[in-house]
């Protein structure tokens, strides 16, 4: 049935085509809507006329004036291969085309054909194997098909500047793209999904190509098997990065659009709930502001805007949620008079199948739109001090022991990791994880248990229990967003932005004095106190670095009070895995008694209000 339908479309499209032209019906294959003309698009189009392009915030020109050609391997102002890859995606064709639609000026389309001709002259055919070159990394081939070349085939086919010779070269190259994507695609990850969507699109754009049906079948089979391999049952893409969750969900939306325009109703019904699951997960982790956490290699993405853009109405969750395979806990409190809703993202899961950061047991925390604790993003993929910082433990809210990070977790998981879990009862919720620190000489130096407890009235308690029997240097970090200021008072720390303020108090079970240091935008002796909202963009951000030396099992408690309230820690005792903690909120005192999980045990907690 499915194959028959495709053959019908094939027949319909080929009937509509001029012989040998390779064009097809725009209503059938142009599945996306172009953005509306804007000032930003016009600026980018005018820059493209001058052979200047901005990729990931970096502007440069690959044009060689003397030879009047492009250097397609030009790596931009930072000599970064990412820039060359973006150059070869031809995304700027879209800007030029939109500027042409707005102004009617043929110089914009003329520039598209000028660039296309130059690119085709330089890249007559794909390499014989998988390539990571600027032009023929499979992802770039896929992006050309998905984001730029469809405009040429569908929207500009009749343009007078599109000569027959250029059309012939273009069609030949498009068919090469189909064969190349089928035979030399990525082996796994989000790239593979993008490449298979592109392969499906080539099969639709070129139904008359000899291999068109093979491309379509291969792409659909691969997309189905990769969804099962790459997506956890809760809808999280296994790279566990908000940015790549966005990439993947948008790609699968594109699949739905392609299935819709080709009237593949059966496949559409099969895929719709799968794509919805990706959105549901994405919506479940968003902050009250609508933004996603910057877990692993991520940028500041606005999930609520994306949901709106794709017409998905998923109401913001009002309760906490635990994703056991992804190993993520999102604590939420309801808004109430005088306090903002709490949102806390606690990572107790696998590292992620790719784009990993060293962030096991990192937590991000917001009170309403007040981002008190954050993940610092990705900034760059170039190896060096900056990559080490943003990818490493020092840009996350973690502990180091003797300067070392905890042992790495597995990349993927099938259920909760050992030593992790989630606890929920009336009025109190908690999640926990356990990490080990191996000695460079073999054996184990220490064990670190972190329990994050969501207290009533939207306060958050973090309990770090470090088990060691030798003198060890403990270092820890609390990072906040760039517009938050920290100030250290005698027994408290304050984080503030304009009129919003949060009080943080801390205690150690053994009475250790913590050395507290504020760092902001430091490059020497080590990179410290930086935040990256998006790739290639970094900002100085206040961070709190604390350190102490312990020589026996010790617990540290941190109480983050909600904006308008003053919660304060009073005492902390711990013996083996049983702890007793007292704190007060304004004039009311509470006692929290708990038993930390040991081996397969679960956490137990009891909160009592003291007279």
């Amino acid at each position: 049935m499915s194959q028959l339908r495709w053959l019908q479309i094939y027949g319909l499209i080929t009937c509509l085509l001029p012989v040998g032209a390779g064009a097809s019906d725009p209503r059938t294959v142009f599945e996306r809507s172009l953005p509306r003309h804007s000032e930003a698009i016009q600026i980018r189009a005018d820059q493209a006329l001058e052979h200047t392009f901005v990729f990931q915030g970096l502007s440069d020109s690959p044009y060689i004036d003397v030879a009047e050609v492009y250097d397609w391997n030009h790596k931009g102002p930072k000599n970064d291969k990412e820039w060359a890859w973006f150059l070869n995606r031809h995304r700027y064709f879209e800007d030029l085309y939109i500027a042409y639609l707005k102004t009617g000026d043929a110089k914009y389309t003329g520039q598209i054909f000028y660039i296309l001709e130059d690119w085709l002259a330089e890249h007559a055919g794909p390499p014989s194997g998988m390539s990571f070159s600027s032009a023929w990394r499979p992802l770039e081939a896929a992006r050309r098909v998905l984001e730029s070349w469809d405009i040429l085939l569908v929207q500009l086919w009749s343009a007078p500047q599109f000569t027959d010779t250029l059309k012939a070269s273009f069609i030949r190259s498009l068919d090469h793209h189909g064969d190349y994507l089928q035979n030399h695609h990525a082996l796994y990850g989000n790239h593979l999904i993008t490449e298979m969507i592109a392969l499906l699109k080539v099969s639709l754009l070129r139904p008359q190509a000899v291999n068109s049906e093979a491309w379509r079948q291969y792409a659909l089979d691969k997309l189905r098997s990769e969804y099962d391999k790459q997506v956890y049952p809760e809808g999280a893409h296994k790279e566990l990065s908000s940015h790549y969750q966005r990439v993947v969900v948008r790609n699968y939306e594109k699949l739905l659009s392609l299935l819709q325009v080709s009237e593949q109703t059966e496949l559409l019904e099969e895929w719709e709930p799968k794509v919805y699951r990706l959105w549901e997960y994405f919506a479940s982790i968003r902050k009250p502001s609508g933004l996603a956490p910057l877990n692993n290699d991520s940028d500041r993405e606005h999930v609520s805007h994306l949901l709106k853009q794709y017409g998905r109405s998923i109401e913001p969750s009002k309760t906490s949620i635990y994703h056991p395979n992804a190993g993520q806990v999102v604590f939420r409190s309801k808004p109430a008079k005088g306090r903002s809703p709490l949102w806390c993202f606690f990572d107790i899961g696998p590292r992620g199948s790719d784009h990993q950061h060293e962030d096991f047991m990192h937590l991000s925390l917001s009170f309403g739109n007040f981002p008190l604790l954050v993940d610092n993003g990705r900034y760059t993929y170039r190896p060096g001090a900056w990559r080490d910082y943003f990818q490493g433990p020092r840009s996350h809210n973690l502990l180091l022991i003797d300067g070392r990070d905890s042992d790495p977790m597995p990349k993927v998981a099938d259920g909760p990791l050992p030593g992790t879990g989630f606890y929920q009862s009336e009025g109190i919720e908690a999640a926990w994880g356990e990490a080990h620190f191996s000695s460079p000489h073999g054996g184990r130096d220490a064990t670190w248990q972190r329990v994050v407890i969501h207290l009533p009235k939207g306060h958050l308690l973090v309990l770090d229990h470090v088990l060691t029997f030798r003198p060890r240097q403990i270092e820890g970090f609390w990072h906040s967003a760039p517009d938050i200021d920290w100030s250290i008072a005698s027994t408290s720390i304050y984080a503030s932005r304009k009129s919003k303020k949060s009080r943080i108090t801390y205690l150690s079970s053994e009475g250790n004095n913590l050395t507290l240091v504020q760092k902001k935008g430091e490059k020497e002796p080590t990179v410290s106190g930086w935040h990256s909202p998006r790739f290639n963009d970094r900002k100085p951000a206040d961070s709190l670095y604390y350190s102490t030396t312990i020589s026996q099992p010790t617990a540290f408690a941190w109480l983050f009070s909600n904006t308008d309230q003053t919660a304060k820690l009073q005492s902390l005792e711990i013996r083996s895995n049983t702890f007793r903690l007292a704190y007060s909120v304004n004039t009311v005192s509470f006692e929290l008694i708990g038993k930390l999980p040991n081996n397969a045990d679960k956490l137990t907690l009891k909160l009592v209000e003291k007279d």
Binding site: G443, D445, T447, L467, T468, F469, R470, S551, P553
Partner: protein, 77 residues
């Protein structure tokens, strides 16, 4: 040939055994004042287990040195 092999295996076994003992002694000296019976399990895993594995490995190697040597030298002499 075989006797020489036995000697070499016994020497390695001795190094493992003695090294394990030294490591255990070092760990106990460095951590005895932090010992707390409440954390017995963690203490054992961090301070005792590693050297114990080395000592046991050395002992097993010593006990089976002749058989191992015979196995290695089979069809050579």
């Amino acid at each position: 040939m075989k006797n020489q092999m036995i000697l070499q295996i016994r020497f390695v076994a001795f190094l493992c055994f003695f090294g394990g003992l030294l490591l255990l002694a070092r760990n106990l000296v460095l951590s005895y004042d932090s010992f707390n019976p409440s954390y017995l399990g963690h203490y054992f895993k961090q301070e005792v287990l590693g050297p114990l594995v080395l000592i046991l490995g050395g002992s097993i190697l010593r006990a089976f040195a002749k058989r191992i040597a015979a196995c290695i030298c089979k069809d050579i002499d």
